[in-house]
């Protein structure tokens, strides 16, 4: 327990409340999309009906990459990034580096999207930012991730905005600890038969207290990612390298070696991928080739973390021979405190270090964070319901965003499922989201009462979630028999999760109507 003086406690209560009120609704949008984006990969599989289970790197890629290299202009053959796209297809980005007018290093080249047989589906030329947009089959998961990362605000402003929201969450988490006079008692206090607002306050406290460490970690790692490229790298590069961001990137991520520009064909990529899989116990997730076709070429193979660890594994091979060179830390050339710290930021933020189990825990804790943010806003408003200045508009806005956002997300999923087979998902997924958001806003303006609005949005969201699996099947998605036969049970699992989530929302909305007492409570002080 932390004992603050009375004035300090009052100040911290104000800081806790205002950090939530000023940025709470935006923060809620970031947290709820982050919660869903924990399962972005699985949602991508579910929504697009991907049934391939074998990694692209477990199939032959060597001949394909050589063919692509042969047709790629020499100016783009400096480096190659190989990764998986869609239904375990191969994506290859042949590129060179250049410095943008703002001083930031950018990659420019040709991004090949391949079919399962290795033939080219699409070839896009431009900078990394220009070519790596959403595709028809991943429009839904891309939309979720982009909403979470930058709220669809252009860079760098979107990242700065989410970084500031991360700091606000950090403030709310730390001040939340400081204002609890009875932290350990609050963890277990749930007065189910008390005044409805006290019940809500207890739930807010319990959910908030249990998820405090998680909120702190997410806010910390999230603001790190948001500020990394927008503020951190330019400032550190300025101090350490006179503003040369490429030099900073090379120092931190590069594989330094003696330059040898003489021409040497690249080693066999299939043998390298197989060797990496043998050493790490799983197929690679990403392969980076530096100095393609030169004697000093290096091939860095990235793999998932080994069992019991959260730091991804990175293996380095000699490009010219394909011979294994060394195990390399993700950051830096040899293990170091700073490198390890940076390497574990991503697994901590994404919750993907222990497969579906850690993702499920991250999802649950993310749900608790959404609950805490939403109920915190409602408690703050309930405390001021009798005050002179009316905050009814903010109460409506809280309901529109708090319940309208899940509704719009479910609607965008429905929009994706309906339009993806015809190839229109990139346009229609965000468009349907906007239409649903507009419906929620107009409902907020027209609804007779906040309770009616609350009730209507819950029913609409629950219904949508309930019918999403039916839409998926109606639009030609794979059935349960097929997905279980091919070893892709996550599709059936998400169907069940959607039905369970929708059913729960409908049960809550229809089985427990909001009483007048619940919407016009007499509130006790929050602390």
């Amino acid at each position: 327990m932390i004992h603050l003086q009375k004035d300090d406690t009052k100040l911290m209560v104000a800081v806790h409340g205002w950090s939530g009120i000023l940025l709470g609704l935006l923060l809620y949008a970031v947290v709820i999309t982050g919660m869903v984006a924990v399962f972005a990969e699985e949602i991508g599989i579910w929504s697009a009906g991907h049934v391939e289970t074998r990694s692209a790197f477990a199939r032959p890629i060597d001949a394909v990459v050589r063919k692509l290299a042969a047709r790629t202009p020499e100016r783009y053959r400096r480096d190659v990034s190989l990764f998986e796209i869609g239904d375990h297809r191969l994506g290859a980005f042949f590129h060179d580096h250049e410095i943008a007018p703002n001083g930031q290093p950018v990659d420019r080249g040709i991004y090949y999207q391949l079919h399962a047989d290795g033939s080219i589906d699409k070839a896009l030329e431009g900078t990394g930012q220009q070519v790596f947009g959403p595709r028809n089959d991943d429009a839904l998961s891309s939309f979720l991730v982009d909403t979470h990362v930058r709220l669809h605000v252009p860079d760098p402003w979107g990242l700065l905005l989410t970084g500031i929201l991360g700091l606000a969450m950090l403030v709310a988490a730390i001040s939340g600890v400081l204002i609890h006079r009875h932290l350990f008692k609050d963890i277990f206090t749930l007065r189910r038969r008390a005044n409805p607002v006290l019940v809500d306050r207890d739930r807010h406290s319990v959910a908030g207290t249990w998820s405090l460490p998680f909120a702190f970690l997410l806010a910390f790692t999230g603001s790190f990612f948001s500020f990394f490229s927008t503020v951190g790298v330019p400032v550190v590069a300025m101090a350490a390298f006179g503003g040369d961001q490429q030099a900073l990137s090379d120092a931190v991520f590069g594989s330094p070696g003696k330059p040898d520009p003489s021409i040497r064909p690249i080693g066999n990529l299939d043998r390298i991928a197989a060797d990496a899989a043998r050493r790490t116990g799983g197929a690679p997730t990403f392969i980076a080739i530096e100095h393609y076709g030169r004697a000093d070429s290096t091939i860095t193979v990235f793999n998932d973390p080994p069992a019991g660890d959260i730091e991804p594994q990175t293996l380095v091979y000699r490009g010219a021979t394909g011979a294994f060179d060394r195990v390399k830390p993700s950051i830096g050339t040899v293990p170091s405190a700073g490198g390890t710290l940076v390497a574990i930021m991503a697994p901590i933020h994404f919750g993907n270090f222990a497969g579906l189990l850690s993702k499920a825990i991250w999802f649950g804790l993310g749900f608790a964070m959404c609950y805490v943010t939403f109920t915190g806003l409602r408690l703050w408003l309930a405390r001021r319901r009798g005050d002179a200045g009316s905050l009814a508009w903010l109460e409506r806005a809280t309901t529109v965003i708090g319940l309208g956002l899940p509704f719009a997300l479910a609607a965008s999923a429905a929009g994706f499922l309906v339009t993806m087979p015809a190839g229109g998902a990139v346009f229609w997924t965000p468009t349907v989201f906007l239409i649903a958001a507009a419906i929620a806003i107009v409902s907020g303006l027209l609804a007779r009462s906040n309770a009616t609005l609350d009730h209507g949005l819950r029913i609409a969201t629950g219904t949508l979630l309930l019918i999403l699996p039916l839409i998926r099947l109606a639009m030609g998605g794979p059935g349960w028999g097929q997905v279980i036969t091919v070893g892709q049970p996550i599709i059936a699992a998400l169907d069940i999760a959607m039905v369970a989530g929708g059913g729960w929302m409908l049960w809550r909305a229809l089985g427990r109507r909001l009483s007048a007492a619940a919407v016009a409570p007499v509130l006790e002080p929050a602390e």
């Binding site: 603050l4 003086q5 300090d8 100040l11 911290m12 800081v15 991360g166 700091l167 950090l170 403030v171 730390i174 001040s175 806010a219 910390f220 603001s223 790190f224 500020f227 990394f228 503020v231 951190g232 790298v233 400032v235 550190v236 300025m238 101090a239 350490a240 390298f241 006179g242 030099a247 900073l248 120092a251 931190v252 830390p329 950051i331 830096g332 050339t333 040899v334 293990p335 170091s336 405190a337 700073g338 490198g339 710290l341 940076v342 930021m345």
Partner: protein, 98 residues
């Protein structure tokens, strides 16, 4: 009283942002590089949100405003001074240090 409150808000708000950015730059110079020679480059990036939070809560909770100002301005002067000193060095000396 009102002026003191505004000064405190200035240290907790824009002051904390500016000082934590200056510290990020300065730390790249004085933090040891570690085994891989990169700790000085990556630790300031990782610690930036925590430094900001530390400055924010110190400005909010320290009862003595003078101490808030001394701590914040000293940290700023030290780190901004280090960065300025680095920039004032001739290029050859800079390269030798890198």
């Amino acid at each position: 009283m009102r002026a003191r409150r505004l000064i405190r808000i200035a240290f907790a708000g824009p002051g904390a942002v500016v000082i934590s950015m200056a510290m990020m730059g300065g730390m790249a110079i004085w933090v040891p590089g570690g085994a891989a020679g990169i700790d000085n480059l990556v630790l300031p990036l990782v610690l930036f949100p925590l430094i900001w939070a530390g400055l924010f809560f110190h400005a909010c909770l320290d009862s003595r405003l003078t101490r808030v100002a001394i701590v914040a301005l000293t940290l700023f002067a030290l780190h901004a001074g280090l960065v300025a000193h680095r920039f004032s060095q001739p290029p050859a000396a800079k390269e030798a240090r890198q």
